[in-house]
Point group: C2
Chain length 146, copies 2
Amino acid sequence: MNSAPAHDEPSCSIAASLDIVGDRWTILILRDSFRGLHRFDEFRRDLEIPRAVLADRLRRLVDAGVLVKRQYSEHPPRDEYRLTDMGRELSPILVGLMQWGDRWLGGPDGPPTVLVHEPCGTEVDLRFHCGACARDFSPLEIASRR
Amino acid sequence: MNSAPAHDEPSCSIAASLDIVGDRWTILILRDSFRGLHRFDEFRRDLEIPRAVLADRLRRLVDAGVLVKRQYSEHPPRDEYRLTDMGRELSPILVGLMQWGDRWLGGPDGPPTVLVHEPCGTEVDLRFHCGACARDFSPLEIASRR
DNA sequence: GGGGCTGAGTTCATTCCCTGAACCTAGTCG
DNA sequence: CGACTAGGTTCAGGGAATGAACTCAGCCCC
């Protein structure tokens, strides 16, 4: 029955991504995962998120393949949640949010966290890069083609 | 060295950004703005979003400075919503969502939309670039420092 | 000069989800 | 034994989302 009517968003990758990560708590959980938090109670204490919501979001993220649930202790049984490669590749979105907040909403203290290229330790940021022009360019120069 | 993060998140740019764009409908409205939709009814028809929610989200985005409301016709009085520079600089987030969806959730047809560097028309994508190493690198190589 | 149309909303009843508190289970510690 | 921790589930309530109906202003047409 797939006549794919126009108003049904069949093939928008942004909408598809939002079905998985289009929720405030979900993004904050992922942010904490990147920061090195992995356990239910670590998330709960850091975010002050209701337990039921946290359990739900973790379940969805595991179902989607963004996190894996792993037992890190058998006796007592204890679980932790770790980013998969699929989850780790969400970093540009987190970085985008961070840089935009730094630039447009930042307090006078400057950015509380900076990003580095792990192998060399150099501070970096996220840029659009054009191979043809051999240069980085501003977000204002981007356009889309179907 | 990692002192316990205050449960009050005063200075997290990600959380600050989410206060403005951390909502599914908001992101979809912005996606449509980048696509060239500007009017209330264009958004409403494309997204099938309830009118009350659309009015609320547009109001918030205007209040935040992401969109501006402009009269494009005096008689009859008609308004449109346009991205400000602040809004246009959200593109890395949208692009991040799009590329992640393309890569991990993509259908067999490939990406429905590609991005080009407007001045030269070349297809681009969003990459981390390290000036010190003089190369692009994968999201998996990123790390954060306080 | 009435009827229908468009754009841009507001109001309202219902439904749904988030929230916070309490409770549960398994295991460990003193 | 009783207290404590980790990782949840259950439940009442409140607030936001939803869809339908309504408003209002102006234009279009006959």
